[in-house]
Amino acid sequence: MDKKTALHLYRVMREIRRFEQRSTTLFGENKIWGTIHSYAGEEAIAAGVCEHLRDDDWITSTHRGHGHCIAKRAELGKMFAELLGKETGYCRGRGGSMHIADTSKGNLGANGIVGGGIPIATGAALTAKQLGTDQVAVSFFGDGAANQGTFHESLNIAAIWKLPVIYVCENNQYAESFPTKKAFAIEDIAIRATSYGMPGTRVDGRDVAKVYEAAGEAITRARAGGGPTLLVCESYRHEGHYYGDPRKYQTKEEIEGWKTTFDPLLDARAWIIRDKVATEAELDAIDRDVDEEMERAVAWAEAGPPASPLTAEEIYASN
């Protein structure tokens, strides 16, 4: 992997991690309302996949959507502003964390319905096919969503129509409190691709280089008219399901364990330095830069005006 890509991947992951840390703080300060779901631990997936995407490619995201949004090049300030319920937020404070969208960058939105984005990405891919472009659509969703009917129906439709869509299943080992091991009687979710006659790949979602490579293959194939792929990324979420989750379904050891056993950022740091792609100092500089960028974004967001009152016109496009 070339240096530019490696450092960009690192930077995106770092941004995501830092974003989650900062929003956790803001939540703790009672500045954020509702619920937030941290993507910490899963950064390599969004970063590795979206590195291949253009602004005119589409993604659909989930309730755990900050990472996808950042990797799809959203503006951090507008994201924080949305969490803070500001008029300057992506959704003018109407949507909040679970509905951040940035259609200017092809992000068709976080989604509060588990599995809800899967058919939508399928439809975006249909648009590409209809228009004859080489755009692709990526649907991010969790292991839990892979047990929804929408998963099944969408993958079959995409397969028979050979749509340019990549289904990225983020297996972070849990659906809320339900461990993947109990929710499935299979070990490898990627095997489900065979039910639809599409390629399925399982990849170590901790390793951004591996995600990058596998996603690249799938996306290249989709752009070339080769149809859909199911890409399952094995991962782990560092935090609870949502801010404040008592995590009664996990042991203390497990909760602390990730710090030593599962951290895509530490990993990336290690191989970037080991393989001499870049120096520790360069990475530190990125870290500092990201931290500063984040503070500027928070400050900008906090300074914004509150969400404006609702108007009758904003619900319908043609009134």
Partner: protein, 348 residues
């Protein structure tokens, strides 16, 4: 040209009523819908149709007959039996620049897809702070009268009226069917377009060529002075039949065809009721929780002092639709039931 986001420019909303000089042709309701689809598909390559059995078979009620031959399988996209998959795919296509028409064969199956309609299509624009539009038409059909029993005969329009962000249209005549479907396809919002299985083979004069009926406008299908019958879909036909009978008895009934349940043309309804001073709302769906409650409540709230009698609802019995023919006919309002209810309302 890459299609980017849902914010692409779009066509303007329909406004013009058909000119009086328009050429008319007798058509079945199903043909009129087919005509609208054909014209809109010719006019705009972004219009595509998705659904089950819509290709060679031409749709369960022949509304898409011939369109596969004319437009090919990329525009008449037959789907597997995957209601939420097909509707969700249409939502995604709509969000990214297409103008899909998704067919749900029976409104009874709409529950399988309702999550994508309600949580996604209807709300995307709002939730995204205006960043999206979802020009999606979900065509479906409801109603009883064909011996299809409880899972193929429901009238569920009320569910969809109760969703912010959706529009709900239910034409009763071939001309309205054509004009409203064309307007719905050109509209930038998600629309439930609900036909009736027993209207497909009814005939009427329909303007040929482009024909638009604006959404949100009720139509007075018969003028009268003694009682207003507010209704929609197939019950309009029964109401007209009833009005003819009532006229023989010296009761002059005005029949207001709501046509578009959302947005609702309150002005036309209230003006009529204030004139006749009596209001009978009729629908095929069961009464409890039906849209008749909305309209009767509206009339009670806004025209209370203009009423000479309580607003009345006549609606389907509170039962799943039974199979046996005599039972089935007994559970939804027929013309004779409307006559009786209107007479009671007028004569006291």
């Amino acid at each position: 040209m890459p299609a980017t986001s849902g914010t692409a420019p779009t066509t303007s909303s329909p406004t013009a009523a058909p000119s009086a000089a328009a050429v008319q042709k007798e058509m079945f309701y199903a043909e009129a819908l087919n005509d609208a689809l054909r014209i809109e598909m010719e006019r705009d390559p972004r219009v595509i149709v998705l659904g089950e059995d819509i290709a060679e078979h031409g749709g369960a009620f022949q509304v898409t007959a011939g369109l596969l031959a004319e437009f090919g399988p990329m525009r008449i996209m037959q789907t597997p039996i995957s209601e939420i998959g097909l509707v969700g795919t249409a939502v995604g296509a709509a969000l990214t620049g297409m103008r899909p028409v998704a067919e749900l064969m029976y409104i009874d199956f709409s529950g399988l897809a309702i999550d994508q309609i309600v949580n996604q299509a209807a709300q995307n624009r709002f939730m995204f702070g205006g960043q999206a539009r979802v020009p999606l038409v979900v065509r479906t059909q409801g109603g009883s009268g064909r011996g299809n029993a409880a899972q193929h005969s429901k009238s569920l329009e009320a569910w969809f009226t109760h969703v912010a962000g959706l529009k709900v249209v239910m034409p009763s005549t071939p001309a309205d069917a054509k004009g409203l479907l064309a307007s719905a396809i050109r509209d930038d919002d998600p629309i439930m377009f609900i036909e009736h299985k027993l209207l497909y083979r009814t005939k009427g004069l329909v303007p040929t060529g482009e024909h638009l009926v604006p959404l949100g406008k009720a139509d007075i299908k018969r003028a009268g002075t003694d009682v207003t019958i507010v209704t929609w879909s197939r019950e309009v036909l029964f109401a007209l039949e009833a009005a003819a009978t009532l006229a023989e008895e010296g009761i002059s009934a005005e029949v207001v065809d709501v046509r578009s349940l959302v947005p609702l043309d309150k002005a036309t309804i209230l003006a009529s009721v204030c004139k006749t001073r009596r209001c009978l709302v009729v629908h095929e769906a069961i009464k409890r929780g039906g849209y008749g409650g909305e309209i009767a409540a509206l009339v009670a709230e806004e025209a209370f002092d203009d009423l000479d009698a309580p607003p009345r609802r006549l609606a389907g019995a509170e039962t799943p639709i039974p199979y046996a023919q005599p039972l089935e006919l007994g559970v939804v309002p027929q013309a004779a039931d409307i006559v009786r209810a209107a007479r009671e309302l007028v004569r006291g």
